[in-house]
């Protein structure tokens, strides 16, 4: 593990980092991540040096650095501790643990300690929901946090023990695969899918495209676009180069199946990319790995190196002259929006992760304006399977609109959280039974951007035609406060909105304000109307899917869980937008007054 350097010649280290990346503007984000890892933050001086070295306008470097959560622009301490803020982390007591940690180290959340030793803050879901509460220490995941572990971490920090010397058990991440199916249950021999493609002879790629069509494989990232159609579009689009990108920016809270696929099934994924490269004629592929999964990088690099050694990557793959393809790992740095394919491409090019205007679509104009496909990790793993077993076999499982199986990341109130593979069409109730969720009350299917399913709907099925999901399956047991969960979700969207378009940038913040007002017991009927109004604006006027889905959980709650908020509503038709008495507190403190005139009731 790399450590934050206290001193040393920063200029020299910056020059080294820029050189290492060939001073390539497209690698700006990777450069910034390296600078952050080596210096602990991205200083204003560093930005100037990088801009000069790469020949970029300074604003572009600063703009990119300022976009990503894991690139602090001010010192964040030698130990930067981030608590995962998924709703399941909260359900497991993360907020109390954060308080305890801050007390131990005399920290104020969001601020660095005076001796510059440490800082603590919350971060969006780190994808460890089946083994939370979780967090990140200088980017490295820590799991199963409890009071003892927090005390241990606090002691290690107080003793200034380098993170690389911390007990490995703190960083242990388990797969927790609980149910396997057609994908997870099969052994896979690296190279077998490529060889199967090769064995089809000169017409192989065409035949494989036909198999894909037969398979009716749809994107596993949630949107469910036909993989065959996307790939055909890319194949047919003119360009000087084509690219295939594996989207491992698994940012949807509650989703962690890509982490497991990359940890234990990486060959399937890389081989799916390689098959795709052969079909579309891509010379280069990228694995866009979310910053939270940075710890997997070395392992994945070793697998790529091994595959190169086996002739499964590089030039003349599997002995086929002219089949040249390689994969590069590109790290994200804490930005949910980069899971959106065009934002991901922007990020790959070293810019702020801002979704592009569409059309044109990436399949025609993507990375470096060339035809590009971006596919989910799981989709690519299934491509390998289809190359091996054929499309018909795949399509034999699932439903009419949703062929094959789906990997779910199950967490929340159940006895056995973890990874479950199910044929599409499986009812929610069956899944709940399998994972030991006896007292389930609600399930958030597909994460905050998905659907909040009530106990009345547990007969509904996981499928594109009913309950589409990228994989998150978050269970709320009886007695859970749905409003609190929704509060967590609206917080998430306000934090992750990229800020480009008006309805999402402002709408997510207004939504957060109103949900907080209701949760604080000061909501009124007009606030509910306002939430619907905001939901309409975000859904219909936003630039991309983030804004379109940001009100989902709120609107589902309003419709399906009146009990979650009705009791909290005041009887009045109107309540002030803010707490009048609290707004006098500063002046009371300054003047030392506490007389009756220095206070106000909630309603004037």
């Amino acid at each position: 593990m790399s450590e934050v350097h206290d001193s040393g010649d920063i200029g020299q280290s910056l020059a080294y980092i820029c050189e290492k990346h060939d001073r390539e503007p497209r690698r700006l984000l990777q450069i910034l991540i390296d600078v952050q890892e080596s210096c602990g933050f991205v200083s204003s001086e560093a930005i100037t040096v990088i801009a000069q070295s790469l020949g970029l306008p300074r604003v572009q470097v600063e703009g990119a650095a300022g976009f990503y959560s894991f690139l602090p622009l001010a010192p964040a301490g030698r130990y930067r501790v981030l608590f995962s803020d998924d709703v399941t982390d909260r359900m497991l007591g993360s907020q109390e643990l954060m308080r305890h940690f801050c007390n131990r180290l005399w920290l104020e959340p969001g601020k660095v300690s005076e001796d510059q030793a440490a800082s603590a803050d919350f971060t969006s879901c780190t994808g460890m929901c089946d083994q939370g509460p979780a967090g990140l220490v200088n980017g490295w995941p820590v799991t199963r946090l409890n009071r003892e572990r927090i005390d241990l971490i606090a002691d290690l920090i107080l003793d200034r023990v380098p993170v690389s010397h911390w007990p490995p058990m703190l960083f242990q991440v388990d797969d927790n695969i609980r149910r396997t199916g057609m994908l997870l249950g099969e052994a896979f021999e690296p190279g077998s899918a490529i060889r199967a493609l090769r064995a089809r002879g000169p017409g192989g790629p065409e035949a494989m495209m036909a198999e894909l069509k037969t398979s009716r494989l749809r994107g596993r990232g949630g949107a469910g676009y036909s993989t065959a159609d996307k790939w055909a579009h890319c194949r047919e689009s003119p360009g000087t180069a084509r690219y295939i990108v594996c989207n491992a920016d698994e940012g949807e809270p509650g989703t962690f199946k890509d982490r497991v696929l990359l940890n234990s099934y990486a060959d399937l994924v890389f081989e799916g990319m390689t098959v795709g490269a052969r079909l579309m004629g891509c010379a280069k592929g990228f694995l866009y790995l979310r910053g939270e999964y940075r710890y997997l990088r070395e392992k994945l690099e070793r697998i790529l190196a091994r595959r190169r050694g086996e002739g499964l990557l590089g030039t003349g793959i599997a002995g086929e002259a002219g089949f040249d393809f390689d994969i590069e790992i590109h790290l994200g740095a804490g930005a949910y929006i980069c899971g959106e394919e065009s934002a991901l491409i922007e990020s790959l090019e070293g810019r702020r992760g801002r979704p592009r205007n569409r059309p044109p679509f990436p399949a025609a104009h993507g990375y470096l304006d060339q035809p590009t496909v971006v596919n989910n990790v799981e989709t690519l793993a299934f491509v390998s399977m289809i190359a091996l077993d054929g499309g018909k076999h795949f399509a034999g499982t699932g439903t009419g609109e949703s062929s094959g199986s789906k990997i779910l990341s199950i967490s929340g109130d159940c006895a056995r959280p973890g990874i479950y593979e199910y044929p599409f069409g499986t009812p929610v109730q069956e899944i709940l039974d399998d994972c030991g969720a006896e007292e389930a009350y609600a399930v958030q299917v597909g994460g905050p951007s998905g659907v909040l399913v009530s106990w009345k709907e547990f007969g509904r099925r996981i499928s594109f035609e009913d309950l589409p999901t990228a994989g998150a399956f978050t269970i709320f047991g009886r007695g859970r406060d749905i409003l609190q969960a929704v509060q967590n979700y609206v917080h998430f969207f306000a934090h992750e909105s990229c800020g480009f378009c008006t309805p999402c940038r402002v709408g997510t913040q207004l939504q957060k304000k109103i949900v907080e007002k209701i949760a604080g017991g000061h909501g009124t009927a007009s606030d509910l109307e306002e939430l619907k109004h905001l939901g309409h604006l975000m859904r219909t006027m936003s630039h991309c899917g983030l804004g379109h889905t940001a009100p989902n959980a709120v609107l589902d709650m309003l419709e399906k869980f009146p009990g979650a908020y009705e009791q909290k509503l005041g009887s009045l038709s109107f309540e002030p937008a803010f707490d009048l008495d609290a707004a006098l507190e500063t002046a009371r403190r300054i003047t030392g007054r506490d007389d009756p005139w220095a206070h106000l009731p909630r309603q004037p």
Partner: protein, 189 residues
């Protein structure tokens, strides 16, 4: 609301109006006075409850309440609450009431800095201290628009709204019509 307007339209008695200026400059009130000779017509139709023109200290039951200025301190909030309770129709007049406007320029300065500047650092302030007399209204951390504290029925824009705009609006309201806030005369400055 319609009921209120209907009541306001009742010819059997004069319409009762209250006005006040919270964190404002009285410019809106001045503009109201600038309807000139139409004041005589107005007085034929209405009687004033609490206003800066009368010496009534508290707002009683009224048909129309007109509030100028934003909500800057506890006293503003109390007056506003009293207006809302007593007025069937509440009108926020001018940008201070509607958005906070110029008084809200203090909103990005901390209250502590404001107090220090005024009571401790300003020339001639040496040796003074921050006043703590209960008679002084205690300021909020920010200046808020009227609409964030109570429900507002109508907003009358313009800094100040022109006498013509005010006149037309009031006559509509007094005569029981839905006031027509036409876009041609809409101004935020």
């Amino acid at each position: 609301m319609n009921e209120a307007r209907a009541a306001a339209a009742g010819v059997s008695r004069k319409i009762r109006i209250a006005t006040c200026s919270l964190a404002g400059c009285f410019g809106c009130h001045t503009s109201l006075l600038d309807i000139d000779e139409r004041l005589i017509d107005l007085l034929g139709m209405v009687e004033f409850d609490r206003t800066p023109f009368t010496d009534i200290k508290h707002c009683g039951p009224c048909d129309i309440g007109i509030v100028e200025g934003g909500v800057s301190n506890a006293e503003n909030a109390r007056v506003l609450g009293e207006f809302r309770k007593n007025c069937k129709v509440l009108v926020a007049i001018g940008p201070c009431a509607i958005t906070g406007n110029v008084p809200a320029l203090r909103n990005d300065i901390s209250l502590w800095d404001c107090f220090q500047e005024i009571y401790l650092y300003e020339a001639g302030a040496e040796g003074r201290q921050i006043p703590n007399d209960p008679e002084l209204p205690l300021p909020f951390d920010k200046v808020y628009p009227v609409g964030e504290v109570v429900k507002v029925d109508y907003f009358l824009n313009g800094c100040p709204p022109s006498p013509d705009v005010i006149w037309k609006f009031l006559v509509d309201l007094i005569q029981g019509r839905e006031p027509e806030l036409d876009r041609e005369s809409l101004r935020y400055d």
